[in-house]
């Protein structure tokens, strides 16, 4: 790619993409911290995670402001225009990811280490996959690698499947013993948050596709999350 004749324009665009990388790194870190806090029942780490969200929020505002300024001053065209618009969109996805991680951290105190052993590994797998999707999609952004972005986009299906199984398992726990309902609900929200983070990663992947190719990904994404239509039949013999 040739450089812009106006160096300051080139610098503006570079600064935007650096800021996204920085924001992405922070979101990754925040997600990792929240999961660790949940797994190790570490309240201190949870509090630290909650506090860290502020920096991400500030970065989003900074990116938005800079992007608006670039549009106003430089009237970007074609690829440059798509870059600036996509930067705004991705920063908003990353901000949401930060919020969701923060929300997981908030639930650590309520869950208070009551995660059933059988669920720990499921949670672990889910968070690992979410972190991998986020990392890969950020790499795809930095290297403008459409194929990598599309792989993330498809991989989200696996995260949905994991969420599905955790959802069912939690329902079973709640039916077994009503005292489980409180922490299970928190865990369910936690799992849902991780699943939503995957959705944001796919949004980012779609935006990378648009940024590089100029074409929207219109193909229907494979979806495995069917919990919103799941029903659970109460069995007469159940002990509730």
């Amino acid at each position: 790619m040739q450089k812009h004749i106006v160096t300051a324009f080139e610098d503006d665009l570079k600064a935007l993409s650096h800021k996204i990388s920085k924001m992405g790194g922070l979101a990754e870190e925040q997600l990792a911290m929240s999961i660790k806090a949940l797994e190790t029942n570490d309240f201190e780490l949870a509090k630290k995670t909650i506090a860290a969200d502020k920096v991400i929020d500030e970065l989003e505002l900074d990116i938005e402001e800079r992007a608006i300024l670039v549009i106003a001053k430089r009237q970007p065209m074609a690829l440059d225009l798509r870059r600036v618009i996509v930067t705004i969109r991705i920063s908003s996805d990353l901000e949401r990811i930060g919020d969701l991680a923060k929300n997981i951290a908030k639930r650590v105190i309520a869950i208070d280490g009551q995660t059933p052993k059988s669920l720990v590994s499921g949670f672990h797998a889910m968070s690992e996959l979410a972190q991998k999707l986020l990392k890969d999609v950020l790499d795809a952004f930095a290297s403008e690698d459409v194929e990598k972005a599309v792989r993330v986009w498809r991989k989200d299906e696996d995260l949905d499947a994991l969420y599905n199984s955790i959802f069912r398992e939690l329902l079973t726990y709640m039916m077994e013993d009503t005292r489980n309902i409180s922490f299970c609900t928190h865990l369910l929200f936690g799992a849902k948050n991780i699943e939503r983070i995957g959705d944001h990663a796919t949004n980012i992947a779609e935006n990378i596709h648009y940024m590089v190719t100029g074409v929207l990904l219109t193909e229907e994404r494979p979806k495995m999350d069917n919990t919103s239509t799941s029903k659970f039949d109460f069995d007469e013999n159940s002990n509730i």
């Binding site: 450089k3 004749i5 009237q75 065209m77 074609a78 690829l79 440059d80 225009l81 798509r82 100029g214």
Partner: protein
């Protein structure tokens, strides 16, 4: 990338379904030994604004001038190929160039009203084309032309004052009114706003938008934003060739050609 029969790379949104006013095929233009245009194939659509963009010396103005044979007046200029206006070859021997230029009017970069009254500026063309029969005819043409050019309210009380006394933007609208007065089918504009301030430019752009209802407009502009704002189709010229021709919306958001992209985004090309 799909390739239309003209051989010009086309955007995905095809524009071939529209009606062609001008059809240019294999147009080569030479200034002496130097070739300025190479095999220009393009369809200018009726009642649309087509913008021609490209770096200085790319041949866009030369091509614009081919459309009403303005290049004829340059001795060393030689034309080869074919340009059809409504299916009729405008370079055919039986074509009356004066009549052609009445059908295909032109507005230039620098406003160039005649050193006469506003009124005389408008009626001059219709008069030499024998379109005026009496004072009331003339008055009517003056009023309609100035109204269509959005200048009537500003000058109706001083029609006998010299056209050169108007502001730059008003002078340019006077030139547009003068072009409209002979009832052309096509209006060619060669950087019509480059000598105007932003407000006068906005007024002309608004005018172009209105005029396309009744006229086919071809505009040469150095302002990417202007091309993006006013035109429906855009042709990118480079070194005497058309590099890309397609719908303006696509050219400025997702051009197919790397050279187009480099040019419109302001990169070294």
């Amino acid at each position: 990338m799909s390739v239309q029969k003209t051989g010009v790379p086309m955007s995905e949104k095809q524009i071939s379904s529209q009606v062609g006013k001008f059809t240019s095929r294999g147009v080569d233009v030479y200034y002496g030994d130097k070739q300025a245009l190479f095999g220009i194939d393009i369809d200018i659509m009726e009642n649309k604004v087509t913008s021609l963009i490209g770096p200085s010396g790319c041949g866009k103005s030369t091509f614009l001038r081919c459309l009403n044979r303005m290049n004829d007046v340059i001795d060393i200029c030689r034309f080869e190929g074919e340009i059809l206006l409504d299916g009729q070859d405008i370079y055919a021997s039986e074509i009356d160039v004066v009549e052609l230029r009445a059908r295909v009017g032109m507005v230039f970069q620098k406003p160039n009203p005649f050193p006469k009254s506003i009124y005389e500026n408008i009626v001059y063309g219709p008069r030499i084309h024998g379109m005026i029969d009496g004072r009331s005819d003339a008055d009517e043409i003056v009023e309609t032309s100035l109204k269509r050019a959005g200048l009537w309210n500003e000058v109706k009380d001083r029609l006998n004052e010299p056209g050169t006394g108007l502001s730059g933007g008003q002078q340019q609208r006077l030139c547009i009114a003068r072009a409209i007065a002979v009832n052309p089918e096509v209006i060619l504009m060669d950087e019509p706003c480059s000598a105007l301030d932003p407000i006068a430019t906005a007024i002309i752009e608004e005018l172009i938008d209105e005029l396309k209802e009744n006229f086919t407009i071809v505009i040469v502009t150095h302002s990417m934003q202007q091309a993006a704002r006013v035109s429906q189709n855009t042709a990118f010229f480079h070194l005497g060739k058309i590099i890309e021709f397609g719908e303006t919306d696509q050219i400025f958001t997702n051009p197919r050609n790397q050279q187009t992209q480099d040019y419109i985004t302001g990169r070294y090309g």
